[in-house]
């Protein structure tokens, strides 16, 4: 308190220096609060396809520990990877494929990752399937509006492999930056069909319908999760990770259509 008085007197006498001291005091106070007060929120960077399941996961964790707060940044896995490589502060990282996790591991940014879910691809069409799509071959039709994820994100790479295995050259009309952006445009009826995760079809039930991809053409991806090196709330991050890997956590994943790894 006395420091503040000194600073205030300085503000009156030498405004420049006084304000500089006040600013550093405020900064110090903020830092101090973080150290003594409640732990900072657990910041989870997760693939867009995990949106619904992880929001539930966060609620479940907050319910067991009322002092804990979980926040999310959902985006395309490669967007998240670039954000983290450029120093974005996060406690947990959960991309939709092992490659994006590996990139961070090489940089020494994550601790030991663990696989926690598997997902497959499906064709999504607007509710009622107005274009009458019934398989991968229809995605080659120039007359239909077809969307995929951009080849930079896992769902775009997986869709590319599905089409390759089926020998279909899709007549693509848009490459969306993440799977939820693609799903929204299919759900709005602006696209006739697209390849998304099987779980996305379930999460957007009502707006979209799913058309299964035969096992011979389908591909699966494994979701890894890891605590970030230098996590601001390491304890909270570890708690989130163990919940995801635990039986109740796996039950949440399965409720949203994910398979066990």
């Amino acid at each position: 308190m006395r420091l503040y008085m000194v600073a205030m007197r300085l503000v009156r006498a030498r405004p420049g220096i006084g304000i500089a001291i006040l600013l550093s005091l405020v900064a110090g106070a903020c830092g101090g609060a973080a150290a003594e007060g409640p732990a900072p929120a657990v910041m989870v960077f997760a693939a867009a396809s995990l949106s619904d399941a992880f929001v539930d996961m966060g609620r479940a964790l907050e319910a067991t520990d009322p002092g804990l707060e979980v926040r999310f940044n959902f985006a395309g896995s490669s967007t998240l990877r670039e954000q983290l490589l450029n120093g974005a502060p996060a406690d947990v990282f959960a991309p939709a494929d092992p490659a994006n996790m590996e990139a961070l591991r090489e940089g020494g940014l994550v601790e030991q990752p663990a696989a926690f879910a598997r997902n497959q691809m499906a064709i999504a069409v607007p509710a009622g399937n107005p274009a009458g799509v019934d398989g991968l071959a229809d995605l080659a039709a120039e007359s239909l509006l077809i969307g995929l994820c951009a080849p930079t994100v896992p769902c775009g790479q997986l869709a590319g492999r599905v089409l390759e295995r089926a020998g279909v050259i899709a007549a693509v009309d848009t490459e969306e930056p993440d799977v939820r952006a693609l799903l929204a445009k299919i759900g709005a009826g602006e696209l006739d069909a697209g390849i998304v995760y099987a779980t996305d079809v379930q999460s957007a039930a009502g707006a979209v319908e799913g058309i299964p991809i035969p096992a011979a053409h389908n591909v699966a991806t494994t979701y890894p999760i890891a605590v970030m090196v230098g996590a601001a709330n390491r304890e909270g991050a570890a708690a989130f990770l163990s919940l995801v890997l635990s039986e109740p956590g796996q039950a949440i994943m399965s409720r949203y259509g994910f398979q066990a790894p």
């Binding site: 670039e82 930079t152 602006e190």
Partner: protein, 270 residues
């Protein structure tokens, strides 16, 4: 005219430290990101990066769509600005507010609004699609529509302001000499506001060239069809950061040319 000595003496004194410190930080807000971009620029590979098919397609598409949006903005914006500045009618301020809306609105919201209005299932888009089989989203025309949506306000506002500040006696004199309203508009009003029209046009074009949010939301993202420069930068950031920086540099260079071209119009040149 000379200032009193005491006043000019005061002006030469050192500026107060708190103001100076805050102002320097203010400059930093603009300068630091620019320096960050330049520090990541792969200068030696720049030529090669800009010659890639992705870069060339994106630059061509951006040039084409932004110019088309600018032409549409002039065709629709000049009459609208004239209406706002010269005709008194109920709801004029409401329309002025509507014009400003796209400048304030987050572009992604604008894109969503365009989708709900002009998309295949949209208010106007659905009857259009049912009648003609044509729909704007995911086509080059969707990009032009998104660009026009964000660019038009710059032209209308610039011109509306210029028309409002114009000495009306020239127009009155022309009218009193027998010129009809359209002749007055064409032969007197427009020549008088030509510099503002040019400035508004350039601003509208620059805004169209940089448009991202409305484009990716409404027109989608497909290399060669709807992937403009800003979209290519966004996608390349995740696959080829060097290419993203090179493309960003093109946009920075264009912006600098616009700023230099418009100097003296938007601020005092000292």
């Amino acid at each position: 005219m000379t200032l009193p000595e005491s006043s000019s003496h005061r002006l030469r004194r050192r500026p107060p430290l708190p103001l100076l410190v805050a102002a320097v930080f203010g400059v930093g807000v603009f300068l630091v990101p620019l320096v960050g971009l330049l520090s990541r620029t792969p200068w030696t590979r720049l030529g090669g990066l800009l010659e890639s098919a992705m870069a060339r397609e994106a630059m061509m598409l951006s040039l084409l769509t932004s110019l088309a949006a600018t032409v549409i903005s002039v065709i629709l914006g000049v009459p609208l600005a004239w209406l706002l500045a010269r005709v008194e009618f109920a709801g004029r301020s409401v329309i002025r507010g509507l014009v400003i809306l796209p400048m304030v609105l987050p572009p992604v919201v604008g894109g969503a609004a365009l989708l709900f209005a002009l998309g295949r299932r949209g208010l106007l888009g659905e009857p259009l699609y049912l009648a003609t089989g044509f729909s704007l989203p995911f086509s080059i025309w969707g990009v032009v529509a998104a660009n026009t949506f964000v660019a038009l306000p710059f032209l209308v506002l610039t011109l509306d302001g210029a028309l409002g500040g114009l000495d009306r006696r020239f127009e009155q004199a022309a009218a009193s000499l027998g010129a009809g309203p359209f002749t007055v508009f064409r032969r007197v009003t427009m020549p008088l506001v030509r510099p503002s029209l040019l400035a508004g046009t350039v601003l509208a074009w620059a805004r169209a060239l940089g448009e991202f949010g409305a484009t990716i939301t409404f027109a989608g993202n497909l290399p060669g069809r709807t992937q403009t420069l800003p979209l290519a930068v966004f996608i390349a950031l995740e696959s080829d950061p060097d290419a993203a920086v090179a493309l960003s540099l093109v946009l920075v260079a264009v912006s600098l040319v616009v700023i230099i071209g418009l100097r003296g119009r938007w601020w005092r040149v000292t």
